[in-house]
Symmetry: C2
Subunit: 392 residues, 2 copies
């Protein structure tokens, strides 16, 4: 048994979106813990779930940052960052869709959603194939597009044609005139490429809980246009599956096909397999190895709610901790009261940033300091509770 | 060593002013702890510091509620509640100045501050003497008055006269014409009465940090009138001390004389002795006995800041806990960031009510539920931390 003053603590939080990256969160928590527990050993393992921060998290344990010039969602060129890591199974690229067609990228959303495309994603995949890579992990979170992944397929050689046989743009607007999909020029190297799709979205491509209906509005799709765009994507998916000779027709209806505006459908259509983003990242960063002889772990995210338990990063950390006998405490920016009962069953205590009534803006602006202070309080509790117990 | 699932937890918080009484705080914390630790034994010991809630806290361990009709600060009659407890040293009355001339009492503040008086306090003391009581504990917090305690002295037989020998009102306005104080009719039973003054205020009666300057404005004293009223109280104090033949002239300058608008001065002038409100209440409620074999204690107050460490209720609980080897965690409505370093040295973790960005109003309105939820999180942390440690 280690001394209560010198625990090994794994800090494995997701980013606090809008305020701190996962690395900044880890730094703040470590600083606070050290204030209360100067003898603690902190193992920072910033987490991600396939959305923004995925490349950063994946590279924390080693690997290289690379950039490649691609076409952004609205058509402008942009330098997309991706990562290269050496895995036992071979060199692996980690790409983030949000780096190419990100919803928080002002330039990427300068065109209306009907004109945005995932072409840049296909351009990057093709460049990776050109470089000899055959393992790609594709984080799907945070996209601004709703093209069903047609842009990516087009960049990889698929052809989308109208009734007259003329090419249409791989965008919702272009696909509304789609009559034929040709796949014979699809890059053949894809067949030997292992594509892992990192996502925690389980929506199908179309319908009431499809990409257009659920994620369209937050990307700028007008409510009155949802039904039409949804129909366009349904037809696109049927034609594409037929052209690609999909092994399992109906992929559009499968869970996750609606991720990243339907990019999930297209990635699966070219042979990709879905995986929990947070689970894959946990493996990449060696979370189990960090936890196995740890005394305690702290995880978190910007806001924790019922969705947290659907495979978000903190849930994965809690699950790994449970398997390894390590208590995992949740320290998030905010907690949804309604989910506290369920969260309380999973975490060794659920805590949040504010130390007094404060606005969201104040919370975001002061996040670094607030987080360190909250971690210090948890450290103070850790230090004194066990110490007092053996005394009796 | 008890099982981590069944700790004995002492819950000894002050009230959260403006939202929950100390009893309500204890109930909410107990409810939350029980959610996470169904096997826990909760010992609720609501605390107070001499202000509002003092009688309630003092009676939690036994004793009787009584009421007596007195004159309120603005002259209207009101039923003041007080407590009677049997102590080893004899039957003891606990009175709260806030019950008689309370600042949160709308009726009591209907007259301007220059016309308010502590006469009702003296009426109650006289009634206690009539009932044969010779032990009085007087909680000074939360008064609306600034009469230097002249009202109380008048009700106990002192006479305040102008140049022409006519009685003046025992109020700031009346005392401005004060020329003579006569004490020969002061109730002689006071000489055999042990008066304990419960206060955590250390201000003197007059001057830059005196009652008028520091507490006057929050009671409605106009800034431009502070100097004049301060001068009135200084003259009143000098004349009163001379009339009473005070053993230690200059009592007005002593720490605490400025408590309750100078009632501290008057209470001391009739033989009262100052005591820390929270320390006395801790003794009255048997806090040490509750702590001695406990595993953990939780304390709190509406807002914790640097003042907390100047003898407020949570500080006293922490000090008792430290002496008895029990870790004491702070769970308050709000924490002042600037004081966190100092608070962190004293408490086994400092925590606050909000679980997300929220307004003060939302915090107050939801205090009961928020408090239970935060206590549940602390309980969850308690339960899992020690359990995981012996495993290695």
């Amino acid at each position: 048994v280690r001394s209560p003053e010198s625990p090994v603590v794994v800090v494995a939080s997701d980013s606090f979106k809008g305020s701190l990256s996962a690395r900044e969160v880890a730094d703040a928590i470590a600083r606070g813990l050290k204030r209360a527990l100067p003898g603690a050993t902190i193992r920072a393992r910033p987490m991600a779930d396939g959305g923004e921060g995925t490349v950063e998290a994946a590279l924390a344990g080693g690997g290289e940052h690379r950039t490649h010039l691609v076409t952004g969602a609205s058509g402008r060129p942009r330098q997309a960052t991706y990562g290269l890591v050496n895995r036992p199974e071979g060199p692996t690229a980690i790409i983030e869709v949000a780096e190419i067609v990100g919803i928080t990228d002002g330039d990427g959303t300068s065109a209306p959603i009907e004109a945005r495309s995932t072409r840049g994603v296909g351009e990057l995949v093709r460049a990776l194939l050109d470089a000899g890579l055959r393992r790609v992990m594709m984080g799907l979170g945070g996209s601004s597009t709703n093209d069903g992944g047609a842009g990516m397929l087009a960049a990889l050689g698929a052809r989308f044609l109208d009734e007259a046989g003329r090419p249409v743009e791989p965008t919702p607007a272009g696909l509304s005139r789609l009559a034929t999909v040709e796949a014979r020029d699809l890059d053949p190297r894809l067949r030997t490429c292992a594509i892992t799709i990192l996502s925690d979205v389980t929506n199908p491509l179309c319908g009431a809980i499809g990409a257009s209906a659920v994620f369209g509005p937050q990307k700028g799709l007008r409510p009155e246009d949802i039904a039409e765009v949804d129909g366009v994507l349904a037809r696109y998916a049927a034609l594409t599956e037929r052209a690609l000779g999909a092994a399992t027709p109906g992929a559009g209806a499968q869970a996750g096909a609606g991720a990243a505006g339907g990019l999930g459908f297209a990635a699966r259509a070219i042979g990709g397999t879905f995986a929990s983003g947070a689970q894959v990242i946990a493996d990449l960063i060696g979370l189990d190895e960090a936890l196995v002889d740890a005394d305690w772990a702290i995880t978190g995210e910007g806001k924790s709610d019922g969705q947290t338990l659907s495979g978000k990063a903190p849930f994965v950390v809690a699950a790994r901790g449970r398997d390894l006998g390590v208590p995992v405490t949740l320290l998030s920016g905010a907690l949804d009261d309604a989910a506290l009962g369920a969260l309380g069953d999973v975490f060794a205590g659920c805590f949040a940033l504010p130390c007094r009534p404060m606005s969201l803006d104040a919370c975001i602006a002061g996040a670094d300091r607030l987080l360190a202070d909250r971690a210090a309080a948890l450290g103070a509790l850790w230090r004194r509770l066990p110490a007092a117990r053996p005394a009796r």
